[in-house]
Symmetry: C2
Subunit: 649 residues, 2 copies
């Protein structure tokens, strides 16, 4: 049964073997430098290369010379707007991390300056974020009680910030930024909504004016803590909180309807703080159960290099906290940077951004700042306020500096409940139920990932939610490979095109030929499955032929168009399939094996075994050849042995 008479219209090419080092080099380059960052350095004199290199790592050198006064006017307005948001948010989020409020203000001074020099985003507004703050308090709080041992707790928070920065910068330098990509969109939606829910729940402490509160972040602990001390609830605090929350939600609603009034929303937190402080000062509400911030130290960030507790027994906790919060902060910062870069049509290099965010946190950790990144809310305000460059961050830092130098006493009477309202209002915007509905409609699996992240965060802890969601996402990818779809192809009428018979009901099967396509690379994880699945396709087809009485099966064509890769287990699988088909008197034919696959099939001598003449460029040509053989066989009345493949003892 040869096909020497049949002339094959096109041959499948076997690309020449590349030397090992060449292919290794190109593999590493595609994996770690997919964006070809050295492109601009090519064919440049050394001095120019040096300048370009400096500009690569310190982008301000590149754009500062072209900075104009009209840019500055825009950046000034944007900077002042985000400063008005930064001050109350800084104080609030520091409270969420169980850190002294002043550290929240410090964190809006140094990191924005560093980012303005090193960052490549024109819109990112730097600051602390709620989720990372919550993570710090939950992870460090397990080891050190912030009320009993505040000094050690602050040291650990700064140390964690340092390690977060080192980890972030290292990811960037080592071009491993793609690790952040493993937090899928669905994971982030579920995780952020869950974290926002948890943060809102934590605010019940402030709203209800409770003094004692659980250290747990899960729904059950919080509910138990709230309802076990109903007699401690303070109506004054609650009333104030609800009023301000209503005010903040109203301004947000208004700004959403009319985007040109974005500044109303941006100014609302500061307005609330001022109103609240004045109210407390006038009514002396601090003596009637409304807790206030109290004294804030005047002056700029004190250096804190000596506070980094590398020798502490809790240093491993700090490292762990740093790595987890660092990844979360990176994911938010880079996603936000990319989103706004796309609006303005410029490009952001993820790895470069990681270095910038990492350096800003390393610098922050030695100047009494805790973890910062580019929060979505503040960046959106910055963008809407018309910022042109990172100078808006410098303006914000200057405004915060003035606050630190002169205005801190004004916050003495600021009620904590206002800060809680600000946090709740910001967090409610993060609970993205519309995105979850969209996920359910488009991709059920993504919805499962999203919901498990949410449930994990709300009922377990932030880390549990994250681990569950990432595991399920990875499982999906592994499952895609471990259980690839195999589809039956049929002929689209009046064409040489073969497509899935499930997708195209008009496609017709070819008598005597079984055409299969496998939708994934053939790897060890699916080799056994595919072997069994292919033999099931064969006997199902034979059963069908038996019951309907068509022409007997003679050829099995494997369309390998969708097999991007194969490993040695996969090749063994093909060898076994070949043995199996030979034993049943069937001929195995391959169509369109891809570059990598055909190279390996050649090296492992599988091509010799199957015969080069049984490998075709398209399914159409393979079927044509099979049909040619079928008819010439029939006319020569060649009989094909059929081996009885039933299991007998």
């Amino acid at each position: 049964m040869g096909n020497a008479d049949y002339e094959c219209p096109h041959r499948v090419a076997i690309p020449p073997a590349k030397p090992f080092l060449t292919s290794l080099k190109s593999g590493v380059k595609e994996t770690l430098f997919p964006d070809d960052p050295f492109r601009q350095f090519k064919n440049q004199p050394t001095s120019k290369k040096f300048i370009l290199g400096l500009q690569y790592f310190v982008p301000i050198l590149e754009w500062a010379p072209r900075y104009t006064f009209s840019f500055f006017k825009a950046d000034l307005i944007a900077g002042i707007t985000i400063a008005s948001l930064a001050v109350p948010q800084g104080i609030s989020y520091a409270g969420l991390a169980n850190l002294p409020p002043i550290i929240g203000l410090y964190s809006s001074f140094v990191p924005p300056l560093v980012y303005a020099m090193l960052g490549s985003s024109k819109d990112l507004a730097v600051g602390t974020v709620a989720v990372a703050s919550l993570l710090i308090s939950s992870m460090l709080g397990k080891e050190v009680n912030p009320n009993e041992n505040p000094k050690l707790y602050v040291q650990l928070a700064l140390t964690a910030t340092f390690f977060a920065g080192v980890f972030q910068a290292a990811l960037g330098f080592l071009r491993l930024g793609f690790i952040v990509d493993f937090l899928s969109h669905a994971t982030i939606v579920g995780f952020m909504s869950g974290a926002a829910t948890v943060v809102c729940l934590q605010q019940l402490k402030g709203i209800l004016g409770l003094v004692h509160f659980t250290h747990g972040t899960d729904l059950l602990s919080v509910m138990e803590s709230v309802f076990s001390q109903t007699h401690q609830w303070r109506w004054e605090s609650g009333l104030l909180g609800c009023c301000f929350l209503f005010f903040l939600l109203l301004t947000r609603y208004f700004s959403k309807r009319k985007p040109c009034f974005f500044w109303i929303n941006a100014m609302a937190p500061l307005t609330s703080v001022v109103l609240g402080s004045v109210l407390v000062y006038l009514t002396h509400a601090e003596k009637h159960g409304v807790q206030v911030i109290g004294n804030l130290k005047k002056g700029l960030n004190p250096p804190s290099l000596h506070q980094l507790a590398f020798g502490s027994p809790y240093v491993m906790t700090a490292v762990k906290t740093g790595i987890i919060t660092g990844v979360i902060a990176l994911a938010e910062g880079i996603a936000v940077g990319r989103t706004f870069a796309m609006f303005k049509n410029y490009h952001i290099d993820g790895n470069k951004e990681m270095i910038a965010i990492g350096m800003m946190n390393i610098a922050g950790s030695s100047t009494s700042c805790y973890l910062t990144t580019g929060p979505f809310s503040r960046t959106a305000v910055n963008f809407n306020a018309g910022c042109k460059t990172a100078v808006s961050n410098i303006v914000m830092a200057t405004a915060v500096m003035i606050t630190l130098l002169f205005l801190t006493p004004l916050f003495h009477y600021t009620p904590l409940v206002v800060l809680s309202s600000i946090i709740i209002c910001a967090m409610l915007g993060l609970i993205d139920y519309e995105a979850a509905i969209h996920l359910w409609k488009v991709d059920k699996f993504d919805f499962v990932v999203c919901i498990s992240a949410y449930v994990g965060v709300v009922f377990g802890s932030v880390e549990i939610g994250l681990v569950i969601a990432v595991s399920i996402s990875l499982l999906r990818m592994l499952l895609f490979i471990a259980r690839p779809r195999t589809v039956l192809l049929g002929n689209i009428p009046n064409s040489m095109i073969y497509r899935s018979m499930d997708q195209y009901p008009i496609a017709n099967s070819v008598p005597g030929v079984l055409i299969l396509q496998i939708d994934a690379p053939i790897y060890f994880a699916n080799a056994n499955y595919l072997r069994e699945r292919i033999s099931r396709w064969i006997y199902e087809e034979e059963d069908k032929i038996k019951s309907t009485g068509g022409s007997t099966l003679q050829y099995v064509i494997l369309d390998m168009s969708a097999n991007g890769s194969i490993d040695t287990s996969g090749i063994s699988m093909l060898e076994e399939v070949k043995k199996n088909t030979d034993r049943r008197g069937l001929k195995l034919v391959l169509a369109n094996p891809r570059s990598e696959v055909i190279k390996k099939l050649e090296k492992s001598k599988f091509i010799e075994a199957i015969g080069q003449e049984w490998i075709y460029l398209t399914v159409g040509e393979a079927v044509a050849a099979c049909n040619f053989m079928l008819h010439s066989c029939k006319s020569n009345s060649v009989t094909v042995d059929k081996f009885d493949a039933q299991d007998n003892v």
Copy 2:
């Protein structure tokens, strides 16, 4: 720029949406029941279903009625042959696990009987294996010293066997057998070779007649232990060991050259034991530094249910040991069963085998047996001896029973060094350097997996080697998805076929059209990469056109033939690519989106955004449409806006 005039030859079909539960059900079925085990139950009366079900779980009921005397003759010979191997191997491997030698004999009695009833392989010979024995001693030995507390150690070994059995059976019942597939061929080659090396190294204790020996299994500990006590080496023992090793290797070499003399190799271990015992008995060598087995208790397996130490503080160690050794044993047993089933052309159901092996270990753990599976060497001997069914296991068990009842005193003078020689000889066959060379030739990545498993086992520990190899294998799969290949397609001359220009140097690019193919599902892990990579392809193409002066780029065709799946992050990526191409004045065209992809694109309204008329069944048709548009555009002198995409501040 529409293409309303152009008539599309074939339309891409959007398969009708299936109800959620239907698709969930078919997904679960494909994942857990790919081999359709209930097929034979269809359309059968209830009584028949019951019988079939019973035969499904107890295969002996199915084949016993058809058992003939000629089968029995063959099985008798095979059974006696493997029994002659089982007795010395059982004693040796028990020593490797630091268990009393008699437990090794017990383990060749009950488990083969259980397997004969439940197993579906006709060739598998049941027994203990070296690697699992070594694992037991290294994992349990860390917690309990077998010399100081032998009773507890034996209890833990039996408990670990019990948990291994439960875990194995549970995997089978839950249809999770594919977990074993994650041990790739390359992993197993490296792991087995490494374990064999480690086992050989451990035998230096016996060969050199050392009394004190390290509990570590890594090369460095063993070498230190050996060379720190050179004055303790016993030449008598060494000489005896080398002689027997030479004899065993010689018989193996001879049997390999002449397969019909397989029995010489099979009988050699028992011959060595007899010769060694006689020699020691005659020369009283046990008084000159040659250690002997000593007294073995007569009698059959005592029940050991009461010895299972569920309440022990070390129970978690036993669970962990059970799970790891259970998986390793399963992997070996199933791989061996499948290999020999393929020779004889019958099918083995992996999940059913797991239940059989699991039940045999559960039964074993309550009758003083430790972990058993189907070792390759013994099964190969069984196969070569011409076994027909699992009755050969029953014959072997009977022979072992006779040994236990009457012959144990004969082993009193058996020198340990002979057992060491038997182990070394068996292990040298497992070091498969030829397979490693093959891996290097065919697939460099598999070679890395193999070598890291080997190095991990030899220099670290058995568990470390396993974890490293499995992680690298999984990383490869993730990397395949995280960094998919994107290839440039060109036209094969005189055809409508488009193929990779790397693979087919004869393929020509189409002026004004960039055709890309992505080789993996579009998932969150690669969405960012692909977005950047596609825009790099576009600007590289534009640079090329600028420098060579061809016709300007107008169309980007994405061939989606190899994209088996997409998730919501992938869809967002496509939306961004569309925005990006729109901004550059390019038109995005899709070719051959697959069933799952097109369904999701429709649900997410991406098809509306791109326009149904820009989705083609093949690349050829897409190119034809683009060419049609290009020329009609030119003749109408429609100019296309080109947006300057350079980054300016």
